[in-house]
């Protein structure tokens, strides 16, 4: 598998995290869909640690279980067996409401197609999760404005998603994910709906912003060039981690998975 870097790449490939203690730790994850003869094992014994401020790309062909892994790590799906711990706290032992609150406060999400609310302006899309968490509108707007400016969206705060380009809308999604200063950002094919140049630009924004805020990044992608933006890459096959590649410090995303 080739992990050659794209021409335009995040300015910094994140270095090894200063705190090797895992913020997120998964052990023996199994997730089965269906039952009896129709049962499909999407995850088949996955062990994974994600260190604070680290970046991890999850790669693999369609149906290998990478999106299921992301959902289980984020507490969206419960594993059939195995555990996921966030800072030592087992997600499976929490009720749905507590997990929802946890996702709001500790996690940020970037989806393939942004999933912005079409009626809301850019700044309102960013402040929405913060307001849901109880932050006042004024404080949330101040944070959101700073994030949008930082991500190159100055002057576009009051545009609706349909008035933004795909890349701009995805930057709004990045701002939304990071405005709450989450511990972990989950990104599911964040550049999948963008052209190559725009995708690389958005990717650089996402990786740089996570590195600056100290958020860990877990990114699902089928694109090796996108995965090369992360310090670690795991390749999945048939619900298992088939290979893992750790990019050497300062390697600027070069190298092959072995």
């Amino acid at each position: 598998m080739n992990f050659a870097p794209p021409a335009s790449h995040p300015s910094v490939v994140p270095s090894a995290p200063a705190h090797p203690t895992p913020v997120l730790s998964a052990r023996g994850l199994v997730r089965t869909y269906g039952s009896d003869q129709t049962a499909t094992r999407a995850l088949d014994g996955v062990d994974l640690d994600i260190a604070r401020a680290d970046s991890l790309a999850v790669m693999g062909p369609s149906g290998c279980g990478k999106t299921t892994l992301l959902h289980v790590l984020a507490g969206i799906l419960a594993p059939t067996s195995g555990t996921v711990r966030l800072d030592g706290e087992a997600l499976a032992e929490l009720g749905d409401r507590r997990r929802t609150l946890l996702r709001r406060s500790e996690f940020g999400f970037v989806f393939q197609d942004g999933q912005l609310l079409p009626e809301l302006t850019a700044v309102e899309n960013v402040i929405l999760p913060r307001m849901l968490g109880g932050t006042s509108r004024r404080a949330a707007t101040a944070e959101a404005t700073a994030w949008l400016d930082r991500l190159g969206l100055a002057g576009m705060h009051h545009r609706r998603p349909t008035q933004l380009s795909g890349g701009q809308a995805q930057r709004v999604a990045v701002a939304r994910a990071l405005a709450g200063r989450p511990s972990v950002v989950f990104a599911d094919e964040p550049t999948g709906a963008l052209d190559q140049e725009t995708g690389q630009s958005v990717l650089a924004t996402l990786v740089d912003a996570c590195a600056e805020t100290g958020a860990s990044l877990v990114m699902v992608t089928h694109d090796a060039k996108v995965a090369a933006a992360c310090r670690r890459t795991v390749a999945m096959r048939d619900g298992r981690i088939a290979r893992e590649y750790v990019r050497p410090e300062g390697a600027q995303g070069t190298g092959d998975a072995r």
Binding site: Y33, T100, G108, L120, E124, L128
Partner: protein, 453 residues
Amino acid sequence: MNALLASAPLLLRRRGALADVLPVIAFAAATAITGTVLGGAAAFVGRLPADGEVAFEGEASLIPFLVSCAMVASVLLIPSAVGLGGSAARLSLARREQDLASIRLVGGTAGQVGAVAVLDVAAQALLGGLLGVVLHLVVTPPLTALDFGIAPFTTADLLMPWWAYPLLVIGMVLLAAGSAAVSLTGVVLSPLGVARDSRTVRMSVVRLVIWAVLILGFLVFMQVGGAIFGGVADGMLFLGIMIVFIGAVVAGVNVVGPFLVWGVALLAARTAPTPALMVGARRLAADPKSGWRAVSGITFALVIAGFLTTLATIVPADGARAVEDRMMATAMSTGGLLTLGIAAVLAAVSTGVTQTARVIDQAPVLRAQHIAGAEVGQLHRARIAEITLPVLLSSVLATFTALLVVLSVLGSGAADPSAAVRYLVSVAGAYALVILAVLVASPLVRRYAMRTA
């Protein structure tokens, strides 16, 4: 073309029970209400003396006026019922857009796709129309218990002649097909998907100016019109102009309503302290006409009900025509409340259908919001905020307009606390029904938000 039509049932996937059933429910409700209103109006017409003789006392002397009231109620309700049929057609079409784009992809021309879409909507309208006739036949017998002050109506009185029912169903099918065809002109169904115009909505302040001018004109006319026109044709010219003015002011509510919904929603969205209000207000500001449409019928009904219930309280209880006056008061009171009740049911069905359709459309966003930390309760509150704003505006507009008409025409002597209380209870009841209709889609919101795959 025949081959495509033959294969259309295969290509048009069923979207799941609720998505397919919703337009049929709306068509059925529109048909049943239209049939019931027309049947009721016909029952009053049936009491008119056959030979055109004019009666001066007893029940017969009231019938011409009550027929006029029934006509006004019909004019008020039928457009709302027809509007519900049109909404159902648009809803049915919206459910099908992706399927229609798929038909383009496998070789269907724009004309063929249009024909398939219109036929699909017409088939649902036919089913809904037939169910609506059955529903009308079921609800009619209990309506004979209503007391209009005159001799009670029988079930046979309240039913339309047999030949009217096929016409009613055919009318609903044609309406649905026409609405679908018109809606198709605003959508580009390409082989690669569906494109829809998504310009930012702006409402012109001219709407507000028109209504303000109408009110000002009405108030000035009520002050000076009597002196100018009072002596012409025994005051009939004054009365005629006054009725035209009242009609224009009441109709103007529909002009100013969407503007006010838009303006208030924009203001609320920009300043909302809670996420639910912000989201609800933004959705409303993006489509204020749709938000207003949900409550426009009920607004008119509230204006009329306010006028009629006040009128009923000032009818003298004694005098030479005491019996007739009491009949008239009962008829106006029952008629006003019945009109309001039907309008509230129409508004509730319309709101329930529209909101459920919107939830189905928003399924991916609802799930994304829940994943990102929005609790299901917060998602519910945003939907309730979306309908609460038009409801509040509608109640203010309706009360203002009813007061304006009542005080201008009947004077401040019409102020009756008991009538005001009855009116406010009616307002609260009607709107509670509309807000309850929003909750119909709540289980769907929970299901979509918590869907795991």
